[in-house]
Point group: C2
Chain length 201, copies 2
């Protein structure tokens, strides 16, 4: 969906192969480093993990916010893209649950992002929108399939659920047992109103 660092680029010549490799490596490394150290992690940590020099980093991401934004979008895309595979592979309720857990994992790597979002940098303005626009339809589809299968009630609002799980998963601390338990609680809640004789797990 996004093949480069700057989203505002008008018409930029296609990246040379090695440059594309660098960008990919940096995004992958940054995602890992952000997950373990937050978005304020030192540049050197990222370049080291990516195996590139500092110059290369600043060539592709002159502003830190460019990198943060790019990593965020890439991870949103990846998480949203996981849904179809789950839908194809599992029954609707399982697909739903597994995707919610995947989503919680996504949220868990967002330490420090909340503060960045409030920094006032206009680069971030579009991120909440990107978040909603990508996730809401995905979850709506999962919910609808599960509802049509009679596994869950049909009046759940996707956006409500996304925010609820977003809040549940914020901590990131200790084991994610807690988040997982809360998710299954939510899913049980969804099942409660299903047409058939659903029973809590």
């Amino acid at each position: 969906m996004d093949d480069g660092p700057s989203t505002a680029g008008q018409q930029r010549p296609p990246l040379r192969a090695d440059a594309q490799r660098s960008v990919d490596a940096l995004l992958a490394a940054a995602a890992e480093v952000f997950a373990e150290s937050g978005v304020d992690a030192p540049v050197r940590k990222i370049t080291a993990k990516a195996g590139v020099g500092a110059g290369t980093f600043y060539r592709h991401f002159p502003q830190r916010s460019d990198l943060i934004s790019a990593v965020f979008r890439r991870e949103v895309d990846a998480c949203a893209a996981a849904a179809p595979a789950l839908t194809a592979q599992y029954p609707p309720l399982d697909a739903l649950t597994r995707w919610l857990e995947r989503f919680a994992g996504f949220i868990a790597t967002k330490r420090g992002l909340s503060a960045a979002l409030h920094s006032g940098d206009p680069v971030y303005d579009s991120l909440p929108c990107y978040f909603q626009q990508n996730f809401e339809p995905v979850l709506a589809d999962l919910l609808e399939r599960a509802a049509q299968a009679g596994a869950i009630r049909s009046d759940a609002d996707p956006w409500d659920l996304l925010r609820a799980i977003g809040n549940l998963a914020v901590p990131l601390e200790d084991g994610d047992d807690h988040t997982q338990r809360m998710i299954s609680l939510l899913v049980d809640g969804l099942r409660y109103g299903a047409g058939a004789g659903a029973q809590p797990s």
Copy 2:
């Protein structure tokens, strides 16, 4: 209200006179520097303005969040404390207007604080509460006096007003003409429903 940096101190021996001077100087300097450069301003800028060494700074504020929190509380106190004098010196409606402008000035120095508040540092958890607990009664009193004088309507909610002006004053950019105009607009709005034949300015 708060005579030292750490709010969690159990029973700490009273500060030596020179230490108290240092703390005061640092808080005053930090307030100025924060206002002009945001809460991420370099430590050296603060110590230079306060006329103290780096060691002194870290002795009193081991964590930056300690300083930010202390400055915030001190300024909340000062702003809230300005109300009685205004009440004594001006008619109720004037006192109300002047205090709201003072409050807007307070908000205008809070660049970067919003991001800090979302950083997750538990030191900040109590600040929003402190903000509300100090300002709401003050404004409620000003509103009530103005309402009893027949200058404004009596159904205004203090907390609503605080948040509204907080939002109006956020920018801090250009001249504060804009904020001032918006405040007088709000006050006119309050006057509109007054019992007597109040007329917009």
